[in-house]
């Protein structure tokens, strides 16, 4: 044994135990019971993973549905129609009034009327849109061939349904083909005032809904005497302005519709869906919480004498509390992060497989049925933090109340 000697200088004492030393002791405590820590953390990984996986499914499906329903339509756009053409006309006078409404940035109108297409020797029914490029742009048409707008007076854009009707299988070969559009200008009471027939050249093909549609220059119909628009598209400066603008337009006796209506309905449905799936995932989370609570309580019981020892060596109640809080947070946050990673990985794998099969079946683009957003990750990290703190509340409070003399007798 070395001879005893007086230490030259006492270590300088500071106020309280350093955080990194406390967390290092917490990690060593957890690692000293590896199997228990692993099993508890696995429970948290499964619980958090299930919540993230299911909510990411809800978010992903929400996105897919929004994309399918709204396409590239702007939610700032309002469609204006008249509920009764005889009494309230959607004419230039009303369009001018709409233009004057505050926060309206664009107004585009279209004459919409039934008509017939004469192509080579065939005659087919169609809907005729007499409009301009602004309206076409706001309609967010999905073009599959040719130009994306009308440049000449006799240009026409048709949809793929119309091409099928007139026996044109290829969109590309339809470009520059001639067709004749026949329609009738009617008065507000429905009586025909003039028949119109125009020879047009197909300049673009769009993929829109099921019915046959042709877009032609509005000037032709205006020159023929058309005064009543079938629809007006109004663009608001911001999404928040949509409701106010709609109220003002409806004040003119007109009817409005907005993609926001659909969006709100979809949002409501998916909010409910998200809560339902989160509830299912939450069952796993509750089991994980119980497992964690059990682990911390048993760990506290096992280490009662250690806590007594720490108090006799100068630990304050808050040091003991913080040690247990660190252990709980290390368990919950590490488990949470691993759970998030697994859920993300599994979601990405399923997205990849779905996209692969969809592409094989002719669907273009990728499918995002699972979507882990930064907001979801942040929310789950906060949730795991809160869960960790709630779970440790009782054991930490109990630990801080331990009488060191009783604790040292406890083994």
């Amino acid at each position: 044994m070395s001879p005893l000697r007086r230490q030259s200088k006492a270590p300088r004492l500071k106020s309280v135990i350093k955080i990194h030393l406390l967390s290092s002791i917490a990690i060593k405590n957890l690692l000293s019971k590896r199997l228990r820590t692993f099993l508890t953390m696995t429970g948290i990984v499964i619980g958090v993973g299930a919540v993230v996986f299911l909510i990411s499914l809800a978010i992903g499906l929400h996105g897919v549905v929004n994309h399918q329903v709204l396409g590239s339509k702007s939610v700032d756009t309002i469609d204006v129609t008249t509920p009764n053409a005889e009494n309230i006309q959607l004419n230039d006078t009303n369009v001018n009034k709409i233009t004057q409404v505050a926060n309206v940035t664009k107004v585009a109108s279209a004459y919409i009327m039934p008509g017939q297409i004469s192509f080579k020797n065939s005659l087919s029914d169609t809907v005729v849109y007499g409009t301009d490029n602004e309206y076409i742009t706001l309609s967010a048409l999905k073009f599959v061939a040719g130009a994306k707008g009308l440049s000449g007076t006799n240009d026409a854009i048709v949809n793929t349904s119309l091409l099928s009707l007139i026996g044109q299988s290829s969109s590309r070969s339809a470009i520059n083909q001639k067709l004749t559009v026949q329609t009738s200008i009617t008065s507000p009471d429905g009586s025909v005032t003039k028949k119109v027939s125009d020879d047009l050249k197909i300049v673009g093909v769009a993929s829109t809904g099921a019915g046959a549609v042709v877009y032609m220059n509005s000037q032709l119909l205006r020159d023929a005497g058309a005064t009543e628009y079938g629809q007006v598209k109004v663009v608001a400066a911001a999404r928040n302005d949509v409701t106010t603008i709609r109220h003002q337009i409806e004040g003119l006796g007109l009817t409005t519709a907005s993609p926001l209506d659909t969006l709100n309905q979809i949002n409501t449905i998916f909010t409910i869906f998200t809560f339902v799936v989160a509830g299912f995932g939450g069952i796993g989370m509750v089991i994980a919480i119980l497992g964690m609570f059990n682990t911390l309580t048993i760990s506290l019981l096992e280490r009662t004498s250690e806590i007594g020892l720490m108090i006799t060596m100068g630990a304050r109640k808050s040091d003991i509390k913080r040690l247990l809080i660190f252990e709980a947070l290390i368990l919950s946050i590490t488990g949470g992060l691993i759970g998030i990673f697994f859920a993300w990985f599994l979601g990405q794998l399923i997205n990849f497989i779905l996209t692969h099969f969809a592409n094989r079946n002719g669907v273009t683009g990728s499918i995002h049925a699972f979507s882990v957003t930064p907001m979801l990750v942040a929310a789950v990290i906060v949730l795991t933090l809160v869960v960790g703190l709630i779970v440790v509340f009782y054991p930490a409070r109990r630990a801080a109340k331990i009488n060191p003399i009783d604790a040292l007798r406890h083994e």
Partner: protein, 278 residues
């Protein structure tokens, strides 16, 4: 003072100033401790008063159940007395709140228990460094001091062992290193040899004497082992909660002797009965 504002410098400076003016380290006045248990109140310490000099080796001696451990717990700030005062290094121990008392204990006292208590997830070196961690020192300072402390008890080669794999004697030496690491003025030991064989027991007592002589630390040894009495320079005899001060060379108080005889006689009878039953 609130928890976050503990100023340990005050404790050290306080002690230095205190040393200049007095040689008394511990001043206990009219200490009474009553435990309220199911069968009624039990008076474990009965108006106990005594002083312990700076740098002394004091033995608190008494038979089992006499109140030694309770007195030790009161002295270490772990068991508030029912009435009375405990002044250590000029500080009234029980005027401090529990957190400050814990901190005061950590910086002024080193405690060695009969049982060996460890943080099982830490190795020997980290266990010894723990009191310094708790008083806010950084890791390197604490580990450096812990190494020095382990050298002082001859256990440096076991630094990386888990304490629980060591023998009882080795563990008690590591406990001693842990008690010394914060450079405390007072070493309180409660039956440190109680669980050891005579060889290891002697080694621990030798170590305590060296701590007292070489490091000039005040040592209080709580024991019921009569063999250690000649090693001390001051004795406190305790029987049924009543304390009597003794001096080296003086005879043991007759009532303590009588109590020891009774215990010895009881032990002899029990031994005979056991032999008969076998």
């Amino acid at each position: 003072m609130i928890d976050g504002d503990i100023n340990t410098e005050v404790t050290e400076n306080q002690f230095r100033e205190y040393k200049k003016v007095t040689s008394i380290l511990i001043d206990v006045r009219n200490l009474i401790k009553i435990f309220n248990i199911a069968s009624g109140p039990v008076n474990v310490l009965k108006d106990v008063s005594f002083q312990v000099k700076q740098g002394s080796f004091t033995i608190i001696f008494g038979p089992s159940g006499s109140g030694k451990s309770t007195l030790m717990n009161v002295l270490s700030g772990l068991e508030p007395p029912t009435t009375g005062n405990v002044m250590i290094a000029g500080q009234d121990l029980y005027q401090l709140n529990p957190d400050l008392r814990a901190h005061f204990r950590g910086s002024v006292m080193g405690i060695v228990h009969q049982e060996n208590y460890w943080i099982k997830s830490l190795n020997v070196l980290e266990n010894v460094a723990l009191p310094l961690y708790l008083s806010g020192n950084d890791k390197s300072t604490a580990l450096k001091a812990a190494k020095v402390s382990l050298e002082q008890v001859g256990m440096q080669e076991f630094s990386n062992y888990r304490p629980t794999v060591l023998s009882g004697g080795q563990q008690q030496r590591v406990s001693m290193a842990r008690a010394l690491v914060a450079n405390p003025q007072l070493i309180l030991t409660d039956e440190p040899t109680g669980n050891l064989d005579s060889k290891n027991g002697k080694m621990i007592i030798d170590l305590l004497q060296k701590i007292n002589h070489d490091l000039k630390r005040t040592v209080i040894l709580v024991t019921h082992n009569i063999e250690y009495l000649p090693l001390s320079d001051s004795q406190l005899y305790i029987l049924d909660g009543e304390l009597t001060e003794g001096r080296p060379g003086e005879k043991m108080p007759p009532e303590i002797l009588e109590s020891l005889r009774n215990q010895l006689s009881q032990l002899t009878q029990m031994e005979k009965m056991e032999k008969k039953s076998v």
